[in-house]
Subunit: 356 residues, 2 copies
């Protein structure tokens, strides 16, 4: 492996295992599997999904939906509140593929009904506890109004309710993640019961990686849209939703400085490669990545007591032990497991290396 | 201004004023001005510097140095510990331009002396308190060894000592920044005195934006390399090194969701646009950006009690007051002043819009 600068390494076999795991889970619970492609944004990873029978996907922007439409994907939900300023690109897409959009307000739906050129699927975004976007799940007055608006529109095809329980990412235990899933089910079940009679084909779409990975009760849910699980990352490991062996990406980077007084080394791999996402471990240490050995065949388990302790634009600072540091030389290539694979992969997706 | 997605807006006039300010300061103190180009990475901003007489620049990677060599810059210091794995690209550069490299260890210098094809300027990187990379300023044993190694080499031309007092970015007062500058001067003066007799042309190169912006004592320093000041940002404003009116970049972004219960809005502008850099304000609030009105001519001062409170991949969550929120509509374009312009600009530099 000829590495001269920070390089994303993707273990295809691990990706396939992660995809299989989630596809099997969806099948077992009779859930439509619409994986989120924002984590990888890569044609090659899309093809791995394709081989496992996936035909419908989720994107987080009009640009990303356009990218994957260009690769031949024909059924895409943009799970981000519709940006009406991109109506031209949206109209271009709706002519070519089955597109679903989401919103949480009449203003957006009204704009779409007046400006969309083709029929388009619409989900009402529901807030079941994440408090980012979406209508509060029990604001039935507003939900009635939105459902009625959609029902009266010929172009906007009401598909159902979509939610993202993203607060599962800040949970502190498996029990808390399970409890979030239970809440999501309870709230979306109420909605389903309320509207199913008049809209018998409506679906409930949900699916963050923590809940989809750990939980086995999906009840009223019809569709899941997890994304992160294809690579997982250090954050998911600390959440308990994966093992470090499941993490399918690492960033290979060169060692440029060693400090034996502080038991630190500096690598060429900074915030513009890993992003500044961090987690705090059980010893209270802020961690920007875990460190592995790496060679042609793959990478090791994380090296004990060794972690990325700080990042500047291009520098990564790694704290380690004197024993480990003695074995490392200037110019060596080491691997860094990212804290948040979605953000690191976004920055490094230009020229990944695939192994296995 | 036709904005449909998160877009970097650069106020050329503010950049020019920021460049003038720093160029004048360098002139007044008889300092060589070698601005760091990692903050902007843009050909157009390079041209603004060029018009103000700048001929020598700083880059933070071999790739960035190659980019600016391609734009015609002939004198570049890569102020990042030399990455020996990029020796081929380095040799390509040294044939075309005057290149300076930095390192803090014999291993890197030994590799360079055996593998460089052309004469190359070399700075010994010194740690005066930042504790990222560099030889501890008073480790005279190692510094002697490095200076002697360089003196004995025909290819490696010893240029002097380079330091980056990056701990000024985490200072909590102007007094602390001044005190960091005094420490940098004291330590580099000691080095200069020790080695100047045998190396009469050696220079001291320093220059982080906080110290260069606020301080007026440069004493032993010969060259400054600040970068951030060309744009400044919210972090620098909170440090007290600039006013909000000096910030020369904003990110224009569309409003996609409004929440009147929580006095929040959601914009299409997330961690992949702004980066996850944050500051904590004097009320203890974690801030990922300040919010402005924006039109064709520029942007307003930050809107009171309004700030980016959270970021996910594509979502920015803005907290505001009910009065402000009433005036904002779905589809409006607002401006976000980034917390760290270097990281935000890195992500958005693909298609900036220049005003003024």
């Amino acid at each position: 492996m000829e590495i001269s600068k920070p390089t994303l390494i993707i273990d295809r076999q691990k990706c396939l295992e992660n995809i299989s795991f989630m596809a099997e889970k969806a099948k077992k619970h009779q859930l439509h599997f619409r994986p989120h492609f924002k984590t990888h944004q890569l044609k090659t990873i899309g093809e791995l999904y394709s081989k496992q029978g996936v035909t419908a996907i989720t994107a987080s922007s009009v640009s990303m939906a356009s990218q994957f439409a260009g690769y031949g994907w024909k059924d895409i939900t943009i799970a981000f509140p519709v940006n009406i300023n991109e109506i031209n690109e949206i109209n271009f897409l709706t002519e070519k593929i089955n597109l679903n959009l989401i919103a949480d307000n009449i203003s957006s739906f009204d704009f779409l009904s007046r400006n969309l050129l083709s029929n388009t699927g619409i989900f009402i975004e529901i807030d079941t506890g994440h408090h980012r976007s979406g209508v509060r799940w029990d604001d039935f007055g507003l939900i009635d109004e939105l459902v009625n608006f959609l029902s009266a529109s010929s172009k906007l095809q009401f598909k159902g309710f979509l939610t993202h329980s993203g607060h599962s990412y800040t949970a502190t235990s498996k029990e808390e993640i399970t409890s979030i899933q239970q809440e999501t089910i309870r709230k979306t079940s109420t909605l389903k019961e309320r509207y199913l009679k008049n809209h018998p084909s409506l679906i409930i779409s949900t699916g963050d990686t923590p809940c989809c990975s750990l939980c086995d009760d999906f009840n009223s849910v019809d569709e899941i849209r997890p994304g992160n699980f294809v690579f997982y990352d250090v954050m998911q490991f600390y959440l308990g939703t994966c093992q470090t062996a499941d993490i399918a990406v690492t960033v290979a980077c060169p060692v440029v400085s060693l400090n034996h007084e502080r038991n630190e080394l500096v690598v060429y791999c900074g915030a513009i490669h890993l992003s500044k996402e961090s987690v705090v471990d059980d010893k209270g240490r802020r961690i920007f990545g875990l460190v592995t050995e790496i060679d042609e065949d793959g990478w090791s388990e994380p090296i004990e007591d060794t972690y990325v302790s700080a990042l500047s634009q291009e520098h990564g600072i790694i704290k380690t032990s004197s024993e480990i540091l003695k074995k490392i030389k200037i110019g060596d290539i080491i691997g860094i497991l990212p804290v948040h694979s979605c953000l690191a992969v976004h920055q490094l997706k230009g020229s990944p290396i695939y192994i296995n």
